[in-house]
Symmetry: C2
Subunit: 304 residues, 2 copies
Amino acid sequence: MSLKNQFTDFITELQNSICSGLEELEPETKFRSDFWERDGGGGGHTRVVSDGKVWEKGGVNISEVHGELPELIRQRFNVAQGWFHAAGISLVIHPRNPFVPTVHANYRYFELYDEKNGEPVDAWFGGGADLTPYYLFDEDARHFHQTHKNACDKISEQLYPKYKQDCDSYFFNAHRGEARGIGGIFYDYHRTDKNFSLNDWFDLAQSCGNAFLDAYLPIAKNRMDTIYQDAHRYWQEIRRGRYVEFNLIHDRGTLFGLKTNGRVESILMSLPPRVRWDYDYNPEDGSQEAKLLDVLKNPKNWLE
Amino acid sequence: MSLKNQFTDFITELQNSICSGLEELEPETKFRSDFWERDGGGGGHTRVVSDGKVWEKGGVNISEVHGELPELIRQRFNVAQGWFHAAGISLVIHPRNPFVPTVHANYRYFELYDEKNGEPVDAWFGGGADLTPYYLFDEDARHFHQTHKNACDKISEQLYPKYKQDCDSYFFNAHRGEARGIGGIFYDYHRTDKNFSLNDWFDLAQSCGNAFLDAYLPIAKNRMDTIYQDAHRYWQEIRRGRYVEFNLIHDRGTLFGLKTNGRVESILMSLPPRVRWDYDYNPEDGSQEAKLLDVLKNPKNWLE
């Protein structure tokens, strides 16, 4: 079976297992399904949870789109004509309890062709996962990073240190000089090279994708019944505003999707359910909120 | 007195009169003041209202900045070196009551120099005002447009029709195929030409800026005591999400400010206080909410 078909099978199964895993912690609701088609070819399966007791809002989406290269991609790769195949899984989960972190993960595979139905002339993988806590628990950050490091190490021990740095650099609100969260892993444009084959990168996507529930569910389970006050919720909503700022101002995937006529509701499922912007909001010195901000401004190596 | 000094005097007085006018409707709070300085030269005066009974959040900001051209402007104008002076007033008001529309206005003047302290080699005005209702009252839309048309007509009757179209085109959430609100006026890069002098454009800024309170306050006063339910507030928060999307994805001024190290809190004071994103939220057919959406997807000429 072709790599692209293997990858599509993988993300289809992963979507199922992640939704099932998340539903196990949620007593009040289930994920709903929306299937959609893309005019130029392909489509997707969006699964969304809303208004749960544990999951206030979340989406676990897969898509497999193909066809002629959109104008914007032709410009970016400086080609006059071409066809593409792109598939991926993308998830963002916004828990209700401010002590449970928001989480994001995405694994994607891209093929480029000179001719319709031809052999790929270029192909690459990208992916990553990152955690956005509202209150910082060092052991949660370490667990999330360690689980992803273990998943990367199965392919090569060289990978995690670089991916950790790239994650801190990418998920960064440059206009505020602070990271979106406490990071994780991020990689892109992984082609065949002298050390790794495309099959290695597919193994990496599988290893990391399959590690998602182990990385996140124990944290959520451990924090989801923590008693919280209005002030914790207030801070969560303020910080969710920073999440929106990153996704709409800086995130390449979001902006690319919106500019190439992607399905708006599937792309913007990543936005938090309730958000707050106050003018010049600053937490008290020495508070738990200030402690989080300090780490976002000075990212840590969690596994040292 | 130089045009740039006259303009700075104008926006300083306008900020005062607009804040005073808005405070007259607000029984519970006043605008607070933050003065700030810019590292490269100049600074601003940010005035913000928060948590009022009538004004849930709002800012009326002026700034006057100057110095060497930032890298990003040099690229945009394709010049190797240069100095600039930029001054403007920018306001966004988010009322609490969903029947009172959000409003935005901005008037700005820019000078460009080849030499430090030299004569301007280029100079232009820009500006506009637009209204974003959550519930549509045709008479409010007509009043806002008519007041601004009258202000434009004092300079020339040719102006309003073009500015109205340009406003609809500019304040447009292309990714959703809908306008941000019901428009108003918008113009940019107004230099001396065969029909108008820079002094004419200064007159235009004054005429429109001074019309702001007449255009907006009667609408706010008329709607601010309307009884509303949770469902009206819900819709307001959903629509505020679209306001955020426009400002962070599409608004040139916001993105330019953030990318040239503008003062983040003054720029992002435009974001609404409380916002909501639901997956695939659609109002009921035939509802007041659907009626608004229909007009946003098919902008109207309010004065015909």
